[in-house]
């Protein structure tokens, strides 16, 4: 599903990632771990097509990101979900509108979008908060909205960058259960985190980065 071949990323004179080769299979659940500044976010951004590698090749579902055209990249992103630490929700739109947005972008009928948004919000336990605005929700609820938005189009891959960084341990557990259930439905999940608690209690694959290189 995801293949990186000798990928290096430089920002000016700084080397953010060096000679990364990685293969993540379809339906896998992978943690990318490492201290702050290790290159976790850069790695996710490269796999999402938000950055271009300085060297090396990246293939997502067989598509080479080095050669992809703008419109094709947009199409690919519709099959990838992304969840951020700071949620990235539109505060002037309701929970329902935030989630429906990802379906509207596909040009789907309003009736289909509505149905999908209701279903996914029910799945993340936010049916009763559809008409609320993000700032009226707790951190955990906001992250569940972001996950619902990432999941509405039933993506092949879900990337999450420090998704529990702003949440307390109880809520973190809930969110991780949600990610696990998403993975069980066949979506490849890649989570970047520096949280030791999250990594200690898992039997999933962990890729550890340090100073831009894979160390284990």
């Amino acid at each position: 599903m995801i293949q990186l071949f000798h990928v290096t990323k430089r920002f000016g004179a700084n080397i953010a990632l060096q000679d990364i080769s990685l293969r993540i299979r379809r339906g896998e659940f992978v943690f990318i771990s490492g201290p702050s500044g290790a290159g976790k976010t850069t790695l996710l951004r490269l796999m999402f097509g938000a950055e271009r590698p300085s060297e090396g090749q990246i293939l997502i579902d067989g598509i080479n990101l080095n050669r992809i055209r703008r419109v094709k990249l947009d199409m690919l992103r519709r099959r990838i979900g992304f969840v951020f630490q700071d949620f990235k929700l539109l505060n002037r739109k309701t929970v329902f509108q935030n989630v429906a947005l990802a379906s509207e972008v596909l040009g789907e009928r309003r009736s289909i979008t509505r149905k999908k948004a209701h279903q996914i919000l029910r799945a993340v336990g936010l049916s009763s908060k559809e008409q609320a605005y993000p700032l009226q929700l707790s951190g955990g609820e906001q992250q569940r909205v972001a996950i619902a938005r990432a999941m509405i189009n039933n993506p092949l891959i879900l990337f999450a960058d420090e998704p529990t960084g702003n949440l307390d341990p109880e809520i973190t557990k809930e969110i991780m259960i949600l990610f696990r259930s998403i993975n069980l439905r066949g979506t490849t999940v890649v989570i970047a985190t520096h949280s030791r608690d999250l990594l200690e209690n898992t039997d999933q694959r962990i890729v550890t980065l340090n100073r831009g290189q894979i160390v284990s």
Binding site: A50, R52, L73, R77, K93, A102, E104
Partner: protein, 298 residues
């Protein structure tokens, strides 16, 4: 079609969600277009006055010495029959001499040495500005000069040409200043809309994140910009018309100069300014939004 309904829905929702930003942008567009429209109105009036003065034409038809009454009547009937011409008066030889004496004033004594009156009798004809259009004055001159009893025909050709030169100079100056104003207006509007879009960059980022194409994101912004441009232009014209109505009634009363009557912008200019608002709003949004897309690609 479904997509366009969605674009308009987004645009109106954005306007409703960002009312203050839109009020500020539309206000800026209104002020800049008001300045531009005021310039166009000022220029249109100057152009109108110059044309009115310059094109009101007078013509003198000098008669031969000893022309008989029958020929005189025939010439008169031809002059009256010219479309748009107004026969002002007939100046007899004696009257012409009197007027010359008046013009010379204290030096009128110079004329005492003349045994006979050498001045010819003449008809004076005037053409008003509106009637001037479409009349070939040179052709009329030739036709009259071929008539029995007519000695010479003169009209204010030099005067007319000078005014036409002035009008074309004014037009060039108007185009240059108008063009510069247009660029300034585009610059101001672009920057205003750029600030408005900058305040919503997170929105653009999220749209791109979920795989929206550039046009899916851009079109609602372009619709918003166009609506702001049209609304700004309509408000600007409304303010200008109110000011014009107030001034046009007072100017004549206060100065008592009927020649300086004000005219409002012709329909074509009004449509032009509204279209300009639309195009400027559209272009400004297009320019302003373009740079934000660089953030979401490599």
């Amino acid at each position: 079609m479904r997509l366009w309904v969605r674009y308009f829905r987004y645009a109106f929702a954005n306007i409703s969600n960002n009312r203050l930003v839109h009020v500020v942008s539309t206000g800026t567009i209104t002020i800049t277009l008001l300045l531009f429209s005021a310039f166009v109105l000022f220029f249109a009036n100057i152009d109108n006055w110059v044309l009115e003065w310059g094109q009101s034409l007078s013509m003198s038809v000098y008669l031969k010495q000893g022309v008989d009454e029958k020929a005189k009547q025939k010439i008169k009937s031809v002059l009256v029959g010219i479309p748009g011409a107004k026969l002002e008066r007939f100046v007899s030889k004696e009257q012409a001499m009197e007027e010359l004496k008046e013009t010379l004033g204290s030096q009128a004594g110079l004329l005492d040495g003349l045994n006979t009156n050498p001045l010819p009798a003449s008809f004076e004809v005037a053409f008003g500005a509106p009637e001037r259009a479409g009349i070939d004055i040179e052709k009329i001159k030739k036709k009259l000069e071929n008539m029995p009893g007519v000695d010479e025909v003169q009209y204010s050709e030099q005067w007319l040409k000078r005014f036409e030169g002035l009008v074309s100079m004014l037009r060039i100056a108007g185009l240059v200043v108008g063009g510069l104003l247009c660029v300034a207006v585009l610059f101001i509007i672009t920057n205003t809309i750029r600030l408005a879009i900058y305040s919503r960059r997170d929105e653009i980022e999220i749209f791109k994140l979920v795989g929206a194409t550039d046009w899916f994101v851009k079109v609602p912004f372009l619709i918003e910009g166009s609506l702001q441009g049209v609304l700004g232009a309509v408000i600007a014209l409304g303010v200008l018309f109110s000011t014009y109505s107030l001034l046009s009634s007072k100017t004549i009363q206060v100065f008592g100069l009927p020649l300086l009557h004000l005219v409002f912008l012709p329909k074509g200019h009004v449509i032009f300014i509204i279209s300009l608002g639309l195009v400027l709003g559209l272009m400004a949004s297009f320019i302003a939004i373009g740079r934000f897309f660089k953030l979401f690609y490599y």
